[in-house]
Symmetry: C2
Subunit: 310 residues, 2 copies
């Protein structure tokens, strides 16, 4: 009922990073894409098959050194139900390889509708008495604009099924300031939302001091990462914005506690496109991704305390 499995994966691999699986077609080498286009034409089926094959290669190359993957729903939805099927297959394949899956859907709604999202992504769907996992991720990102009515249904499923969630607190993008930095009762909205995470998390306590209700805080805001690490001692952070968006190892260091825990840093483009950046053939994309993931692991290890569960 928490993020303990994620934290144990981080300790096992000695690596507080997650690989974002945002499979734009332009990232996928021709050696993977072209055979499917030849077989299915320029269709959503071809794209979806290429995406799954590409993801399989990445997962195989990363699963012993990276504890988690974060598929971004948007890049699957854009390929229709065929793409959504590739998302489902990707989630299951990553879990078979022992990885923790954070489904990045930023879902939000209320009451029985939020029950439906929680069932879809973390829980079980009932069909005439038969319980079926629809997508089966391990944690889901959610948006808290609607308040507790949108969070409680997810907490319920997390408690029943040992899952976790990450609430948007301070997002990595420049215009996050429009609402998130505004002051309510002399505190910024992001801090108010963060305090809500602490409160919601009381219902999902974890073994290592962090609850099942994490927070999304961007790598582009080093000062806020440090501030929030201090203010929210039981809230685990998912940190996007490393690499392409400008976040560095130094800028995320403040997100971690004295045990080297407290955060997991996402990288998508740098890992997915490492083969292009290295100038190596498309056939080597997975090994290039592995080399980049190791560089990222080492860069972060250099600026945070040694990771320990004690």
């Amino acid at each position: 009922m928490s993020l303990d499995r994620l934290i144990e994966g981080i300790a096992r691999t000695n690596n507080p990073t997650v690989a974002g699986l945002d499979p734009k077609l332009e990232y996928i080498p021709d050696c993977i894409l072209k055979p499917y286009i030849d077989q299915y034409g320029r269709t959503l089926e071809a794209a979806a098959e290429a995406i799954f094959t590409y993801n399989q290669g990445l997962i195989d190359a990363l699963c012993d050194i990276v504890p988690a993957v974060k598929p971004q729903c948007a890049y699957y939805e854009m390929y229709g139900w065929q793409g959504v099927r590739a998302l489902e297959r990707t989630i299951r394949y990553a879990q078979e390889k022992g990885m923790f899956v954070i489904t990045d859907g930023k879902r939000n709604d209320i009451g029985s509708t939020m029950d439906a999202y929680a069932a879809a992504h973390l829980g079980v769907t009932d069909v005439a008495g038969n319980g079926i996992e629809a997508f089966g991720g391990d944690a889901l990102t959610v948006n808290g604009y609607l308040g507790s009515d949108g969070i409680d249904p997810v907490i319920k499923v997390c408690r029943q099924r040992d899952k976790g969630m990450f609430v948007l607190v301070k997002t990595s993008n420049p215009s996050s300031e429009e609402l998130q930095d505004q002051a309510i009762n002399e505190e910024p909205v992001y801090l108010m939302m963060g305090r809500q995470c602490e409160k919601w998390g009381e219902q999902l306590p974890g073994k290592y001091g962090y609850t099942g209700v994490g927070a999304v805080v961007g790598a582009t805001w080093p000062q806020q990462l440090s501030e929030l690490r201090y203010e929210l001692p039981h809230t685990f952070f998912l940190v996007p914005g490393y690499g392409a968006q400008g976040g560095s190892a130094e800028s995320v260091a403040g997100a971690f506690d004295k045990r080297g825990l407290g955060a997991i840093v996402n990288s998508s483009r740098a890992i997915l496109c490492a083969w292009k950046k290295e100038g190596c053939p498309g056939e080597d994309y997975a090994q290039a991704a592995r080399r980049e993931a190791l560089r990222m692991r080492d860069a972060i290890a250099a600026v945070i305390p040694v990771i320990t569960l004690e």
Copy 2:
């Protein structure tokens, strides 16, 4: 590049309401569900086929009297990619029958990820130079917590493809007060978000005075509906929370302008479950839905000005 097509549909049917297609299996009559269970077993396939058949019946019964449908993504995602396929089929079927489709996904993200959501739900996905509509809705609900970085990509697609959007402003649920009612610079968050809609909407002007950037405002907040109608003269409202959540015709009257325009009111459960409430056989579910839709149309007509585009 606006919500003009929706407004014209409202004027044509003389009906400012939208039928929410939230197809929980418990709403679906046995005469529809059971044959699919017999054929496919208690599977997601069976559920998805039943949902699509159920929706077809509703759309056939409503398309001449109701201008729009609002499928709620959560109730399709919970049935996996098979359910998402039923969503896609439902959207196309409703459009074939001349209905405007508001895809209720409350999607949100930034930059190229939001581009992907916009392409998925309103735009076109490129596969090796071939442009394909993945879901093809007419408008999408979105969550503005991330600021303009999450809205601009949708505006771009709306402009290119004559589509619209609705941003969450003041949601119908009780805990919307936790963030949305808090004061920033002496104005509540919902009003600040509403003013952003007016600003974003300047890029998508419409023929009838309303832009392509609408706002979601709950039927449960009559005072705020009137306040926002006054403060946001160019922003069209999508009003959930009528019926089951407690909103009445009287409580939504303030959302409309002097031409009977300015808002569309959603009803899901009351329409979908009319056959149960009326105590009629499942076979008559679609006609029961039609009767309920007519009652709702007449109840709202009684409290708003006569609808005119002039």
